[in-house]
Symmetry: C2
Subunit: 584 residues, 2 copies
Amino acid sequence: MIEVIGNGQANSRLQRVSSKLCGMESWKRRLPITIWLPKYSLEFLLRDAIAGITVGLTSIPQGIAYAMVAGLPPQVGLYSSIFPGLMYMLFGSCKDVTVGPTAILAALLAKYVAKSADFAYLAAFLSGCVILLLGVLQLGFLLDFISKPVISGFTTAAALQISASQLKSLFRIAGSSGNTFFTAVINFFRNLKTVQLWDTVLGISTIIALLLLKRATIAVSDTTSPCRARLAACWLNVVRARNALVVFAAAILAFVLSLKGITPFALTGTIEGGLPRFGPPPFHTVVGNQSLQFEDMLAVFGGEGVVMPLVAILESIAIAKAFAGSTTVDATQEMLAIGMCNLVSSFCQSMPSTGSFTRTALNHASGVVTPAGCFFKAMLVLLAVTLLADAFYFIPRATLAGIIVVAMFSLMELAIVKQLWRNSKIELVVYLITVVTGAAAGLEYGIVCGAAADAARALAHAARPPLSVTAFKVGNQDCVSITLSGALSYASSQHLQHKIRRYVPAYIAVVVLDARQLYAMDLGVAENLISVIIDLEKGGHRFLCWNFKESHQKLMEDLHRGFESRFVDGPSIDQHVLGLDITR
Amino acid sequence: MIEVIGNGQANSRLQRVSSKLCGMESWKRRLPITIWLPKYSLEFLLRDAIAGITVGLTSIPQGIAYAMVAGLPPQVGLYSSIFPGLMYMLFGSCKDVTVGPTAILAALLAKYVAKSADFAYLAAFLSGCVILLLGVLQLGFLLDFISKPVISGFTTAAALQISASQLKSLFRIAGSSGNTFFTAVINFFRNLKTVQLWDTVLGISTIIALLLLKRATIAVSDTTSPCRARLAACWLNVVRARNALVVFAAAILAFVLSLKGITPFALTGTIEGGLPRFGPPPFHTVVGNQSLQFEDMLAVFGGEGVVMPLVAILESIAIAKAFAGSTTVDATQEMLAIGMCNLVSSFCQSMPSTGSFTRTALNHASGVVTPAGCFFKAMLVLLAVTLLADAFYFIPRATLAGIIVVAMFSLMELAIVKQLWRNSKIELVVYLITVVTGAAAGLEYGIVCGAAADAARALAHAARPPLSVTAFKVGNQDCVSITLSGALSYASSQHLQHKIRRYVPAYIAVVVLDARQLYAMDLGVAENLISVIIDLEKGGHRFLCWNFKESHQKLMEDLHRGFESRFVDGPSIDQHVLGLDITR
């Protein structure tokens, strides 16, 4: 049983797709709720409810915070936790994934929202369409072209930029925060004199409290007695709801102080609670006193707007894989689910949403069993936005900034720097290009430059394929065998020509090009091979092209009439060498 | 003698470079005139002079014509044939190459010259600097990343655009000609009513005359008697000088008609003859009533300005290779030569120049022996521009347009379409992308989009590496061996994981990953390999990683502590399988 996978996958793919379209099972897979709901039980309900509520308690402060990162009204962040969550319950295939606004998407969105909030809803709609399209066309494999170093670099650059953009709220300094990491840091130092004492104290305290509570999880885990174990479980819940608790404490503090007539902190301010306006996303808007039609809005997004849906898929699928354990993730289904989440929620005043790492981890840790957990989360957030909107008035902005900064700590991927430094310095360069470009010019440029640098690196690798050379004798003829292997792309054609010249000294009578492991060859490679062969033959060498694929033989014969006399097949080369009439 | 070329070439390269810097020979190679001049003879002089004068007779009309393509005064095209030619005599390593303005460079330059002619001289200066830099840093290998289909597509798009831009002069229609093929064609049809009869007749006659004369070369070659042979040789010279002859005839006609007071044709007009103004290229200019500093001029060139030096190198090296025969071309030296040509000539009112295919072919056919041929060509053109400038007044523009159009016929590469259609349809797509983008959006975009599409194609190929799978038995254990080969780039990591899962059915006890032919592996590939191995081991399979390179072992151990227990070496795998303690 030897199977070599080369081309010709197109046909089998077509068959696969057509057989899928006919089976009932495959349609059920596209609406996973039809699979898990019939088996649903009361125990599942209880566990999903606990997990959903725990996640909901984090979704509320994070939703408000990420809406602020994007520059949107706080309730938009909450709506974006509700409606995508409900859609994911229907279409999601991974029980742990929690969909909602994320810091990175919010950061990507900010520069458009600076023009008009309408861009946020349109971005959700367009992202939904793009993601759905990629899902339907099964183009998920395109993401394979974004490598680990680029993703890590992008995430790190995003974490840097988002943290830097929070410096303004954390210290309540004047001026704008800036669209990139560097401008945000520069603006921070430029306005350093306007730092407000009490906001700074509250912001720093929030960060310290959150970090301490996070660390407490570890301290609690090694208990033995049953009583202490129950206490520990209780404490664990406190730890898990730490974001909500910190916000609650800070809001109470601000409220009490305001009763006494003191308002030392910048507060979130009035939130327009209740349900969102339902209706199609805005296809035209007004910026300044300029009326923008749909095509103008598209022009504002431009080419780099594609980065948003791309990042949404990347985040979501990466998270799904991280929590899938031994089951494989159906990337197509995840894309359909995230696409539907964005498409539908754009009709409910939501910003683009995708899987969130922190909340998914929390969902997993809280023991969620099915995607129904999303339902309970959504209900809790819905309750909050309809009933508690007035209470949100008192949430200090510095606390929210603190929550964001702590969330960013866990996003920064620095361990990979060490790994790459030890094992692959050239991939480290790609990582650094992504981070630096992302931090200096903007996140979109970071991911694009990183991917381009990575492609160049991979191509450069392909340009220097290894050639193994073996010298042997047949009779009293000196022969040399040069093995061509893998896929020879155009980038390698010069190198190949050069090497073959080097490997064929004058005393060699017969050169064997061994193509048993060659499975692809570009036109340029074939041309250069022919030219070096013809040229060396003028110097008296004889060439045998051994076991070339038929398509390669045809190509070379097509490029140089009469070339085919050099092709030989069969398991042994010696007989062919003996068959040559060598007269030198 | 088995040699496998992998990494670690950096060191040997450093050694090579340092040894080169020390040897006298290598310095001589950088000034090839020091090699050929000492061996120069009278016979060489005669042959070089004949070839130089033949080429010069073509250089004059082509120089004037290409200056008009770029929108520059005619004498600039002549200066660009003189000074680069003299520099190439000093630095050029390939006897046949003739340097001067080319149609493609002129077409690329046109849109900048439309603002100010100063951009032409600055473009020559900057191109010279970039090419020199690439030569000094030995970055010529970067050109390997532009494949044959992209170069052919670019050349074809350029030929299309240049031909279309000549429609205006050929038919003497009103209006502008447009910056791309499509706009030129559209403008042509829009202004079709303004066609002038006599220019059209002259233009078409020029084309027919040139094509007939070109064909005559073939008819003449099969002669046997000595008398007819001499006649044939004489005729061959007429054929070779056909461009000059056609221009001469047309100018005489226009002159005679003008004596009678008739001027039916659009003429070249007054040429400011004599020597150029010598001096540094303009680092600031005035466009309209706006004064542009150096940085503003750089901004006008923008990113796509890089295409000009790139194309100059590509053209020149491709031509050098085509005429080098069995000697290898020193790409670095060619880059230094072309760089010097542009740099120096930018001080003499010249436009960017590079190797010209038609004139190089003519030089070769005229039997040139050394780069001294360039000297005679330059002298002839210099004589013409100083003494005959007034005579150039009468050259009809339609004749020059006809010369350009005929030159473009030989540039269009259509044979490759057939080759690619038969052998590599995906490369044909790359070719078509280059042609269509080049013709629709501009030549620069054509080459950039084509190269990007080609990179994507090559990467996609790399994303689906072939895996060969062999099932075998050791004792009563079912085993499977999966061979990883070549360079596994990040793009293949998902595919790999997927395939390995597929190739390992439940009854298999031991999976051997055979890495004897694996020479490179990205971080992402290693991560995915580890994750699929760990996962399948949970299902009861045992993995042996056989003959992994030490660097790959280190990487995988670094990613997953304790992974190294799976690595085994040695020529046979059976003993390692037997050594496993398999209890299922």
